[in-house]
Amino acid sequence: MGDRKQARDEEFQSFVVGRWPRLMRTAFLLTGEQHAAEDLVQATLEQVYVAWRRVGAADEPEAYVRRVMINAHARKHRRKLKEFLAPKDDSGLARELPDSGDPIARADDRGALITALAQLPPRQRQAVVLRYWEDLSESQAAEAMGCSVGAVKSNAAKGIAKLRVIPGLADTVTHGGRK
């Protein structure tokens, strides 16, 4: 029995170490901030630890982990905790459109995207991240979000529509910056 527990602990450790980078990236897109992402991933993995005996034996533990992370992210918003990357009021400042070919411009685009993501309603943000970063199917995303496929389609479409009009991104595409 002790050996089994030790084996389970080792499995969980491997899981944590192996999935940490990917989970951090997903959490970063969901939260828009380094420390919030770390908190979200750690909270997610703590919950996974509690259920690891069952989750570790499942065919696809990743699906469970995604569900936990999305729930944790949703709870945070229900509690109205302030996110670090709250919408910034930059009205009155003219947004320059830099040349998309240079690294600074690319960094600016990434920043613009993260900012725009952070301004999306949580469900739209989750749908966009799950569909276009995690590359999940609509039904997989629906499972992770605990909603219907239709709701995923709707939220993803609305989210994408808002991201499409980010000036820097649109310009990049126009100039064939990163096909």
Binding site: E46, W52, D90, R178
Partner: protein, 273 residues
């Protein structure tokens, strides 16, 4: 500020481009080293918090693989505790409608005490869950956080009582996935005053462990210990005056109770064999 004209003038990014940019943006995060130890600590705290406690208690969650040198005798040596009598389990069918098991009883400073647990086995479907919830409402044993029958499907529930407590006045309660069976040195316990409503020292420890656990050691603040062995009477109650790890009808785990001697209180508890 972005204008309507600008929206018109700039082509819209394709979904593929957005996927690409999301990948680039995700790379901006500093990955760092996975904080495995912190995750495990936090996980254990979360597991412990699943015990809903009705009074001020100390919660313990342990999963150590180490062992402690066994010292002291049941009841400890630092104080005087009247022999506890472990009563036989009450009869009943271990089904969906609750089963009561007396975990331990005795007399302390002339006052009788008793600890028992009501376990509700996990319903398999909506119909069973509905029947169980109706019975729970009738017996005033609706678990914390349960608002509808479907919340109970696949979940085992328990309610721990001290003395003559009943109904809503349980001391410890939890509802958990029936598949989440304890193993090895897993242990969940709560420490609380012996008498309900008392603000006295936390002398009573109630917990559950894997069915394979053979020894639990309760360590008290004065350094004495109480070592519990496995009840050998197949759940029908151990010898009078002993504390033991015992099987409980309807529960996927075994249960134990230990009581600190007078003048000291709970420090720690763990599975030692």
């Amino acid at each position: 500020m972005m204008s309507g004209n600008r929206e018109t003038n700039h082509s819209m990014a394709t979904e593929t481009d957005i996927a690409f940019l999301l990948a680039e943006a995700a790379d901006e995060v500093e990955i760092g080293i996975a904080p495995y130890a912190a995750v495990v600590r936090g996980g254990r705290r979360r597991r412990a918090r699943r015990w809903a406690i009705a009074t001020a208690t100390a919660l313990v969650i342990a999963g150590t693989t180490g062992t402690l040198a066994l010292a002291g005798m049941p009841g400890g040596s630092g104080g005087r505790v009247e022999p506890a009598v472990t009563a036989p389990s009450q009869t009943g069918t271990p089904d969906l409608f609750g089963h009561r098991t007396v975990l331990a009883s005795g007399t302390d400073q002339g006052k009788p005490w008793k600890v028992f647990v009501d376990v509700w086995a996990a319903p398999r479907d909506a119909a069973e869950a509905q029947g169980q919830l109706s019975a729970m409402i009738e017996q005033e044993e609706v678990p914390t956080g349960v608002s509808k029958a479907s919340d109970l499907i696949g979940k085992t529930s328990f309610f721990v009582y001290r003395g003559s407590q009943k109904g809503k006045s349980w001391s410890v309660q939890n509802t958990f996935d029936a598949k989440d069976v304890q193993a090895g040195t897993d242990l969940e316990s709560a420490a609380l005053p012996l008498q309900p409503g008392s603000k006295g020292p936390q002398r009573l420890v109630v917990g559950h462990v894997a069915k394979t656990a053979r020894s639990v050691t309760c360590t008290w603040k004065d350094g004495t210990t109480t070592v519990l062995g496995r009840d050998t009477s197949d759940g029908e109650g151990g010898a009078p005056g002993t504390f033991a790890i015992r099987a409980v009808e309807g529960s996927p785990n075994s249960w134990f109770v230990c009581l600190a001697p007078q003048g000291t209180s709970f420090k720690s508890t763990e599975v030692t064999r």
